[in-house]
Symmetry: C3
Subunit: 363 residues, 3 copies
C-alpha cells in the first residue's frame, strides 16, 4: 500500500484520482448535469487507465516472459475493452463501433505520428525495428480487410442482415485465431524479431504481485463504474459542446481510453526508444482490431440486447483503410524524422476535421 501511495505521490497524472469519488458524488446529486458528468468521468478515467496499465505490467513482469507477454497482449487495452463492454450492455452499438474504429485510427495515426514528431524534434533521425512494424502493419491490414467485407456487401444488398450476422461471427473467429497465432509467433517461435519492443522496463520498479493483482481487480471495477457514467453522458455532453456524435465516438472516446498508453509512447520517443512507441501505437491498434473487436462481437450474443455485427459506417472503414495503408507505407523502412510525424498527424487532422464538420444526417 505504501508503494501505491509512493507511486501516486511521484506521478502527477495519478493526482487526478481525486476525481473518482467526485464523479460518484456528482452522479448521485445531479444525475442530469451531463456535461459536468462527462468532464468529471474523463478526468477520472485517465488516472485509472494509468494505474491499470502499471498493474498489468507489474503482473506481467512477475509471471515470466511468455505468460507476461500474453497478459500484456490481452489486457493491454483493458480500459478500451471495459468502456466498450459498458456501451455494449447499454445497446449503444454505434458508440461501440465508433470507439473501435476510432481507437484503431487514433493509435495508428495520432499516437504514431505524435511519437515521430516529438522524438524527431529532439533527435535528427531515429531508427526502429522495422520487422516488428511490418508484421503489426500486416495484422492491421488483415483486420481492415475483415472489417471492409461486411460493409461492402451490405452496401450492395441492404437486406442481407442474416448473412452479415453469420459472416461477422465467422470473421470474429478468424481474427481471434489469427491473433492467437500471432502471439505464438511473437512470444514463442520468432521472439528474436520483436526483441527491442518490450513495454515495461524504463527504470520503473514493478509492484509486488499481491498489490498488482489487487490493483488490477479493484481498478477494473472502478473503470467499469466510471465508464457507465461516461457512456451515459457522452452523447448529451457532445451536443452541448457542438460536437457531432461521430466526432465524439471516433476522437474523444479514443483519446480518453488511450491516454495512459499515449504517455508511455511519447516518453519513449523523447528518450530515442522509438521501438517502444511503435510497439504501443501499432500493437494497440492490432490488438483492438484482432482481439477486442471480435471479442465484443461474440460477447454481444451473451451480454447485449441483440447480436452486434462487424458492419461499420462506410466512412469509418475508409478511414481505417487509409490509416492502415499510411502506416504500412511510412513504417516500411524503419527510419523516421519529424516530418514523417507531421504527415501522419495531418492525415489524422483531416479525419478529425471532417468528422467535426460532418452534417449529422450523413453519419
Amino acid at each position: 500500500m505504501n508503494l501505491l501511495l509512493k507511486e501516486i505521490r511521484h506521478n502527477p497524472v495519478l493526482w487526478l484520482l481525486a476525481f473518482v469519488p467526485v464523479v460518484f458524488a456528482a452522479v448521485k446529486f445531479s444525475p442530469e448535469a451531463h456535461t459536468l458528468l462527462f468532464v468529471l468521468s474523463v478526468l477520472a478515467i485517465v488516472p485509472l487507465a494509468a494505474l491499470l496499465s502499471h498493474a498489468t505490467e507489474s503482473v506481467a513482469a512477475k509471471t515470466g516472459d511468455a505468460a507476461g507477454g500474453l497478459l500484456n497482449a490481452t489486457l493491454g487495452n483493458l480500459t478500451e475493452l471495459v468502456i466498450a463492454l459498458t456501451a455494449l450492455r447499454a445497446g449503444e452499438y454505434m458508440l461501440v463501433k465508433a470507439s473501435i474504429a476510432g481507437a484503431i485510427v487514433t493509435n495508428t495515426l495520432f499516437v504514431l505520428g505524435a511519437s515521430f514528431l516529438l522524438g524527431g524534434l529532439k533527435h535528427h533521425v531515429q531508427e526502429y525495428n522495422r520487422v516488428n512494424a511490418r508484421i503489426q502493419a500486416g495484422l492491421l491490414f488483415l483486420a481492415t480487410v475483415a472489417l471492409l467485407i461486411p460493409s461492402l456487401v451490405a452496401k450492395v444488398d441492404a437486406s442481407a442482415d442474416a448473412f452479415t450476422q453469420k459472416l461477422s461471427v465467422g470473421l470474429a473467429v478468424l481474427l481471434i485465431v489469427t491473433y492467437g497465432l500471432y502471439l505464438l509467433f511473437s512470444l514463442k517461435t520468432h521472439r528474436e524479431f520483436f526483441a527491442s519492443a518490450e513495454h515495461a522496463e524504463d527504470g520503473e520498479v514493478p509492484w509486488p504481485i499481491g498489490l498488482a493483482l489487487a490493483t488490477l481487480a479493484g481498478v477494473t471495477v472502478l473503470v467499469a463504474l466510471v465508464s457507465e457514467i461516461f457512456v451515459e453522458s457522452v452523447q448529451k455532453a457532445a451536443e452541448a459542446f457542438g460536437m457531432t456524435p461521430a466526432f465524439v465516438g471516433f476522437i474523444v472516446v479514443a483519446l480518453v481510453g488511450g491516454a495512459a498508453e499515449m504517455g508511455s509512447a511519447f516518453a519513449g520517443a523523447r528518450k530515442n526508444r522509438l521501438d517502444l512507441s511503435v510497439g504501443i501505437a501499432l500493437g494497440s491498434s492490432s490488438q483492438i482490431a484482432l482481439f477486442v473487436a471480435p471479442v465484443l462481437v461474440l460477447l454481444s450474443y451473451v451480454l447485449g440486447p441483440t447480436p452486434m455485427d462487424l458492419q461499420f459506417w462506410p466512412g469509418a472503414v475508409v478511414m481505417i483503410f487509409i490509416a492502415t495503408l499510411t502506416a504500412s507505407l511510412v513504417t516500411s523502412n524503419g527510419r523516421s524524422a519529424w516530418f514523417v510525424g507531421v504527415l501522419l498527424l495531418m492525415v489524422y487532422l483531416i479525419f478529425a476535421m471532417t468528422l467535426y464538420l460532418l452534417p449529422p444526417r450523413v453519419q
Copy 2:
C-alpha cells in the same frame, strides 16, 4: 512411352488418370448425374494438368532458354485457358470471369500463403529474390487497374455498353503488349534479375521432345473434353453441395485448374527454394491477368456467342485489388516466416467464407 509409364508409376497424382476414361463412360451412361460428373471431372483434370505442366516444361527444356521461357510463359496456364475457353464457347461469361478472378486471387493469396506457411514450418526464416517478386507484383497491380476501370465506369453509367466493349478491347491489347514487353525484359534484356526463379529443374528428367510434344497435344485435347463435362456439371453440382455460384467459380474452379502447379510450389517451399514457389504463385497470377484474360476477350469475338468485356462483378475487383495490394506489401522485403503465410491464408479464408455465405441475389 516407357518414360511416360515410368513417370506415372512414380507419381501418385498421375494414378488419378484412371478417372479420365471413367468420366467419359459416366457422361455416356448417366448424363444427368451432375454431382457425380462434377466430382469425376475434377478428379480427371488434376492429373491431366500435372501431365500438361510436365510436358510443357520438357519442351521448354529442349528448345533452349529464350524460346523455352517463352513457351513456359504462354502455356504455363494451359489448363486454366482450356477450361475458360470451354466456358467461353458455352457463353458462360459469368463463369469465365469468376474463374479468371478466382485464379488470380487463389494464386496470389492461397498458393503464396500456403508456400510461406509450409516452408516456414520447416525453415525458421526463408529468403527469396525480391526483385522478381516486386516486378510480378507490379504487373499484377497494372492488370488490377485495367480490370478496375471498366467496372468503375459501368457502376456510374449502367447504359454504357458500347463504351465498355470498346474499352475492353483496348485494355486487352494494352495488357498483351505489356506482357510481351515483360517477356522481352525477363527473358532477354534483364535476365539476371530473374536468375533463380527457373521452373523445371528439380532433378526431374525432361522427356524426349517427341514424347513431350505428343503428350502436349494429346492431353490438351483430353483436358478440353473433360472441361466440357466440368463446365456443364459445375453449376448444378454446386447447388447440390449448397455452394453459391460465386464460390464455385472463384474457389473451386481455381483450385482444380491450378492443382498441378500448387504441388510444385509447395514442394519448392519445403525444399527451401522459395523462389520457385513465389515464381509460380505470382507468375501464374500475372500470366492469367495479362495474357489469359485479354486473350479470352479477343477470342470471344471469334468463338463466343457475343463479345465478352472486361467488366467484373465489383466484389471480384475488390478482391483482386486487395490480393494484389497484400502481395505487394508482403513481398517487398524478400524474407518470409510461417506467420506471413498465415496472414495471406487468412485473407483468402475471409474471401472464401464471404463467397460461401453470400446470399445468391447479391452476386
Copy 3:
C-alpha cells in the same frame, strides 16, 4: 538582352516564341477560329513555359540556397498556376479541377514513367535517392487523402454543399501548412536527405538577376494573355478533334502546361541523373497537390464568381489515388530499369484511353 537572344538561338524550343505574336494576331482577326487559336496558343505556351522555368532557376541561383529553393518550390509550376487562374476567373471550375488532377496524374505516371523508360533504354539499371522519392510519395498520399474525403462525403449526401465548402477551406489550409513544413524540412532541417535532387545545374549559365527578374515578370504576363485564348478555345477545339472534355482537361492541358519541365526530366534521365527526373516528376505533383490546388481554392473567394471547393469527379479521385499508390510502390527501392517505366506509362495509357472513349454523360 544579348544573353536572352543567345539562349533563344541555342535552344530550338524557344524558336516557337514566334507563335506568340501570331496567336495575338489570330485572335484579333479571326476570333471564331477556335481550332486554329487552340493550336497556336499551345505552340506559344510551350516556349514561354521554358523561358519561365529558366528565369525562375536563374533568380533562385542568385538568391542563395534556402531562398532560391523556396522560390523554385513556389514558382516551379507557375505556368500551370497561371493557366488555372485564368480558368478560375472565367468560372470554368470543371476545367480547373480537371487540370489539377491531370497535372498530378501526368507528372506521377507519364513524366516519371517516360523518364524511367528513356533512361533505362540507355542505362541497364539506374539508381536514385529513395529517401527523397519516399517523402514526395508521402506528400502526394496525404494530398490524395485530402482530395478523397470531400468527394466521398459528397457521394453519400449530395445536399451537403455548405459542409463541402467549409471542409474544402479547412483542407486547403492544412495542405498549405503541410507544404510550408515540408519546405522547412527539405530546405532547412534535413537538407542532406535531398542532396542530389537539385534542379538547375546542368552546365547552364544562370542569367544576371536583372534579366531574370524582367523575364519572369514579362513572360508571366504573356503566359496569362495566351492562357486566356487557350482556355476560351480549348473546349470547342476539343469537340472539333472529337475529344471528350475530360480528356482535354486531364491530358491535353496537363501536357501543355508541363512541357518545359518534361524536357528537363527526360534530359536528366538520359544523362543518368535520375534524381533530377524523379525530383521534377514527383516534386511537381506534390507542389500542385499541396500548393497550387489549395491556393486556387482560397483565391476563388477573391477572384472567382463563386467559391470553388475541393470536390472532384469520383473518376479523377480514383485516378489520383491509383497514380499515387503506383508511384509509392514503384519508387520504394530507389532502382529502376526500362520495364518499370513501361509499367507506369501503361497505367497512364489506360487512363488516357478511358477518358478518350468515355461517353460525355458519365463525366
